[in-house]
């Protein structure tokens, strides 16, 4: 018997124009937790898609228990005992947990479904590995954590021996991440072999036995985690040493720039308010960060602020002026800049050129428009200046279609446009989502530079590292309400996590809420 559960040897996978995997080797031992580390675009997902049968590699071979196998489709992977928890869950929202688990391997009695045995098996597995789920709850009604446990149970129900976790912690609270780590260790102790894909170094260091690193499609190496540090792994991942901590001076807040009072925004998904009676201030020269788990009203709050959604109630003051009912353009002229959450939907017109995207917010100013005609030369000069200044890289400079640019450079273009307008208030929503380490560093620097120049910055982020590093003041949002205010220098990630999960809040009733949240979780 081979000591490896799965071996992927010298895998090469090409797509038109790029080599996504270039001679990559990954050997997964039986019963180990093996991390696969790499930046966005390093080829982790491609490699896993090859293993899961979604793509076929041009070169190289895959061995299971030492024998060569040909994984031509996900069904073959399933038959070989390979299961995967995808980054975006593959769950049918209107089905129950149990139906999702049995889907595809249903047992029947005559023509009809027979779920009694399946339920017993699911409950036994749930007990054995500490995966609490309510088998009769619908997916749309349960927490993300429970959805993930459902995905894990799906693999276990199929008796999979090789479990792939694709960025499993991205959607979880710190407490849920802790639980997941324990579950993964239990699974490995029971003899399951686990592949854990991540770019979060501390998680890899905590949970994995060995770690394989990819960079730009190439195999960099495999190391024992116990001999590694965050610095050594990140140097392998990025190819140079990275400064994790954002350099910044102490903050000296000035006058209040943004003042929101009792803002509520209706929800499109349900009958409750998405944003419920929120009040906050942002002062000049400080970075205020709204932290929270995705979907707790942050998006709607920014929509309300920027004018993309109408307010149900409340007032917004910018520099002492009431802008509650101002149009989006008035707000923009009045000094509000917005780096939107979804850069493709609200940040750029993808089919426009880079230069047209750069003047999207101020094309109507006399320097760009005379007598109703666009001043092409002035626009070109301005665009070239910003491209130079903010190091926006693209194939053809100002005339490149925005669609053809990389995510990092698209984001840089938006940052350039929004910052160069000299705003009083900069709203940045998940400004570093999906970007690689270099681009993240750059954008954080720009945000801090704005603060140091005396501007007010409102940052909305789901990444706790970013929240802790960049902000001067943290507000936690839970179910549309601000439930706590923290100083990043004195709080901890764990404490924020409790508030983000709704387990604690800044009122006398905190014990009551704690009990309520626990009940919901069961």
């Amino acid at each position: 018997m081979s000591e490896y559960a799965i071996e992927m040897l010298h895998i090469t996978k090409r797509f038109p124009g790029i080599i996504a995997n270039d001679d990559v080797t990954l050997q997964l031992r039986k019963g180990e937790i093996h991390a696969l580390l790499g930046e966005n675009g390093a080829g982790k997902s491609t490699l896993m898609s090859v293993l899961f049968g979604l793509y076929q590699a041009e070169e190289g071979e895959i061995r299971k228990d030492g024998k060569v196998v040909h994984i031509t489709s996900p069904n073959v992977a399933n038959d070989l005992g390979i299961g995967m928890v995808h980054q975006h869950f593959k769950l049918v929202e209107c089905f129950t947990v149990l139906d999702n688990i049995i889907l595809g391997v249903e047992t029947t009695k005559g023509p009809f479904l027979e779920k009694t045995e399946a339920r017993k098996k699911v409950m036994a597995l749930s007990e054995k590995y500490g995966l609490q789920v309510d088998p009769d709850a619908k997916i749309e009604d349960i927490t993300v954590g429970m959805q993930q446990r459902t995905e894990i149970l799906k693999m276990l129900y199929r008796d999979n021996e090789i479990l792939i976790f694709d960025e499993p912690t991205a959607v979880l609270t710190p407490q849920e991440i802790e639980e997941l780590m324990v579950i993964m260790k239990n699974l490995a102790a029971e003899g399951k072999s686990i592949l854990f894909i991540s770019h979060k170094l501390n998680e890899i260091l905590e949970v994995s036995d060995r770690c394989t690193v990819l960079r730009k499609g190439k195999y960099i190496g495999t190391v024992d985690t116990k001999d590694s540090t965050a610095e050594s792994l990140s140097a392998m991942m990025v190819g140079r040493s990275v400064n994790f901590h954002v350099e910044k001076q102490p903050c000296h807040p000035g006058d209040t720039v943004l003042s929101v009072r009792n803002m509520s925004v209706a929800s499109k998904a349900h009958k409750k308010m998405a944003v419920n009676n929120v009040s906050l201030d942002v002062r000049a020269g400080e970075i205020v960060c709204i932290a929270g788990i995705d979907g707790n009203g942050q998006t709607e709050f920014v929509y309300g602020l920027s004018g993309l959604e109408p307010l149900a109630s409340g007032t917004i003051m910018l520099n002492g002026k009431d802008i509650t009912r101002s149009s989006i353009r008035q707000k923009s002229i009045g000094g509000m800049s917005h780096i939107p959450e979804d850069r493709h939907k609200h940040g750029l017109v993808l089919d426009y050129s880079l230069e047209d995207n750069i003047i999207l917010q101020n094309y109507f100013e006399p320097r760009f428009t005379k007598h109703g005609f666009l001043q092409r030369r002035a626009i070109r000069e301005y665009a070239e200046k910003l491209i130079e200044q903010y190091d926006v890289r693209s194939g053809q400079g100002p005339i490149t279609a925005a669609r053809a640019m990389s995510g990092g450079n698209q984001q840089k273009a938006i940052v350039a446009r929004e910052i160069d307008r000299g705003p009083e208030l900069l709203i940045a929503v998940q400004p570093t989502r999906g970007l690689d380490v270099g681009a993240i560093e750059y954008i954080h620097k720009q945000i801090v530079a704005q603060r140091d120049a005396g501007k007010a910055v409102l940052l909305v982020s789901l990444e706790l590292d970013e929240v802790m590093d960049v902000s001067d003041r943290i507000l936690v949002m839970y179910e549309g309400e601000i439930v706590g205010e923290f100083d990043p220098k004195t709080t901890t990630v764990e404490e924020l996590g409790l508030y983000m999960a709704g387990a604690k809040r800044a009122t006398e009733e905190s014990d009551l809420y704690l009990a309520g949240a626990k009940r919901k979780e069961m």
Partner: protein, 311 residues
């Protein structure tokens, strides 16, 4: 009163059958806007059966039903091939199918009529005798076999959708095809199944529609928007068979008022023009959809072609 009831049941059965067809198609993820055309072709199949077959009564009924169902399924293959294999826009394909359905049926029937008698350029098929074969005396009511069949098909639809492996997988394909594919379900095959079932039920509904009241059918009039009305029934019925049946009864009642309002003195006294009653079901469906569509829970992935590359 009895005429009102029998008309209501008749119209409700047609609407329910066709709406159930749409329901299966949409649960698989394909919007079948072409139900109107499917009905016309089902009607054509059945009518041709009644015209050319010469069989003992009960065999005749079975044969005509099979013809209608077969024509409906063949016609719905157009949608399946275009929408599933070629990832065409389902709204456009469905609309084209409706236009084509009535036109093609008219051409076919005219050609057949002219071949039999060069002077006969009508698009009419007459089926006075075979129509009687469909009628059966049921507890004093003169009803059609097809109504009984409709009730049976309602029960079967409910069981298939909620109690079988096929139903679970079909719904998974309409809600989250990537999830279905990731557990080894062949989304293409399930969507074909969904569309073909809608052809089956839609074709049957078409045959039933032309057997109501009259003994000949002019194919150039199509089925007078019943396919669309069925879609309204399906949406108001929230894609759930039992609710669809209930809503079909309601819509059937409004539709039958236009045939029977003369029998109710208080309605006659209102002195409304007859066309008001004719319009009633369509107006009701407009109002109902305007008021309820906000809360409707359509299958999430309906109308979106399934692409293996998308994850």
């Amino acid at each position: 009163m009895t005429t009102l009831i029998s008309y209501t049941i008749f119209f409700a059965s047609v609407l329910m059958l066709v709406a159930l067809g749409g329901c299966f198609s949409e649960h698989s993820g394909v919007i079948n806007l072409g139900l109107e055309g499917v009905m016309v072709f089902g009607a054509l199949g059945g009518a041709l059966g009644m015209r050319y077959a010469d069989l003992p009564p009960f065999v005749m009924v079975v044969c005509c039903v099979l013809m209608a169902v077969l024509f409906g399924m063949l016609y719905s293959l157009l949608l399946a091939v275009a929408a599933i294999n070629f990832k065409a826009d389902q709204t456009l394909v469905g609309t084209a199918m409706n236009l084509l359905g009535t036109a093609a049926a008219t051409v076919i029937v005219k050609a057949l009529n002219m071949a039999a008698d060069p002077n006969n350029t009508s698009s009419e098929i007459v089926y006075v005798v075979p129509k009687k074969f469909f009628m059966v005396n049921f507890m004093g009511f003169e009803i059609s076999y097809l109504m009984l069949l409709a009730v049976v098909l309602l029960v079967i639809s409910y069981l298939v959708l909620y109690r079988t492996r096929f139903g679970l997988r079909l719904q998974a394909c309409g809600e989250h095809p990537q999830a279905a594919a990731s557990v080894g379900i062949n989304v293409f095959r399930m969507r074909y199944a969904g569309v073909l079932i809608s052809g089956f039920l839609g074709g049957l509904g078409g045959l039933m529609y032309i057997l109501g009241g009259v003994s000949q059918w002019k194919f150039e009039v199509g089925v007078a928007g019943f396919g669309f009305l069925s879609l309204a029934v399906m949406i108001f019925g929230q894609w759930k068979p039992l609710r669809i049946a209930a809503v079909a009864l309601l819509f059937g009642l409004f539709r039958s008022l236009s045939n029977t309002y003369n029998g109710f003195p208080f309605l006659v006294e209102l002195n409304l023009p007859g066309s008001v009653y004719n319009m009633l079901p369509y107006i009701v469906s407009l109002v109902v959809l305007a008021l309820t569509s906000k809360n409707s829970h359509a299958p999430k992935a309906e109308g979106i072609p399934y692409d293996k590359g998308m994850r």
